[in-house]
Symmetry: C2
Subunit: 195 residues, 2 copies
């Protein structure tokens, strides 16, 4: 194995082991040296690659964020109708929240550990941006009334984050159906001439 390959291999091993532990134990209870030994290396390697425990966490978050964004977008893009795209995206997000490596890392720990500002910036770069764009398209198409999209997107984003956490906890198939229904209700309020 060449040096570049070797480097990439340990990097990946650290990311994966880190993700596992962050998801199951939470940021604070994760010991960096244990992540390293779990990945078959030592603390030194982790610091070489990521600079700090927070650096590793940041990298894990970024990766998980991207994956989630892609997953949601993929589900949304299966529909032609703009309104259905929004619904499908939201549902995909709720379903994804069941995964601990999403909920614990992205929704619970990330805001505190990275600070709310940085977390929001990362969120903006993926899922939140999709949501905002979807809403803007709907406004442009006249399906949703003209209005500031930003606060609306925040409200919906928050609603779905919380719902996803709730589902992750009471990981029930029925609960997911209920949440999806409730979400439809809420979204319904946005349609032109609904209220």
């Amino acid at each position: 194995m060449s040096r570049a390959e070797q480097r990439e291999a340990t990097r990946r091993a650290l990311l994966e082991e880190g993700r596992r532990r962050f998801a199951s134990d939470g940021y604070h209870d994760v010991v960096l040296s244990e992540v390293a030994s779990g990945a078959g290396v030592t603390k030194g390697a982790a610091y070489h690659h990521f600079g700090s425990k927070l650096g590793l966490f940041r990298a894990v978050v970024a990766e998980a964020q991207e994956e989630l964004g892609a997953r949601v977008a993929a589900e949304a893009d299966r529909h032609e109708d703009l309104w259905e795209q929004l619904r499908a995206g939201c549902r995909a997000f709720l379903a994804a929240g069941t995964d601990a490596s999403v909920s614990r890392i992205l929704l619970v720990d990330a805001p505190t550990v990275l600070g709310w500002d940085e977390w929001r910036a990362m969120d903006e770069a993926s899922s939140a941006r999709h949501l905002k764009e979807a809403l803007e398209s709907l406004v442009a198409a006249g399906i949703v009334d003209e209005q500031p999209v930003e606060p609306l997107a925040r409200l919906l984003s928050g609603a779905m984050n919380e719902a996803a956490l709730w589902l992750a906890r009471t990981g029930d198939e029925e609960a997911l159906e209920q949440a999806a229904h409730a979400l439809d209700r809420v979204l319904g309020g946005l349609r032109s001439g609904a209220a």
Copy 2:
């Protein structure tokens, strides 16, 4: 000062200094011995009263939670109409989120530090319960369609938490108005025969 009075005085001093620091620096960056010295005592006193750093935080959270719940309930109770009660409560919550000792402590740190389960249990005991009760009353009055109230409450709770954080960050008078409007839209979707 009697011993009981003295005890209560230091307890309060620790709670208040703790609340200040947790709000401005966040749980992790708060050093317990500094909280103590800020309150005019030593670490020993803090451990005597609260058992651990987490114990102090828990006490601070409980107090802040109660205050918030009371504030929201008070605003809601100024209205006769059930629907207006819900709206007023939500608006009061949004306004309260501007306060750092609410947003940082209750919304950002508490879920991670106490763990989501414990946080949810505490939330349930105050604001979340009020929200659920309000929704149940609305359903009973036929203003909102019959449906599972639990997931709906979670969605709304999450939406308001996130909105409050957003407001705390861009602490704008106009933003608050926008958020309140967006909230009305979303709530509007719940009324019978709206969708």
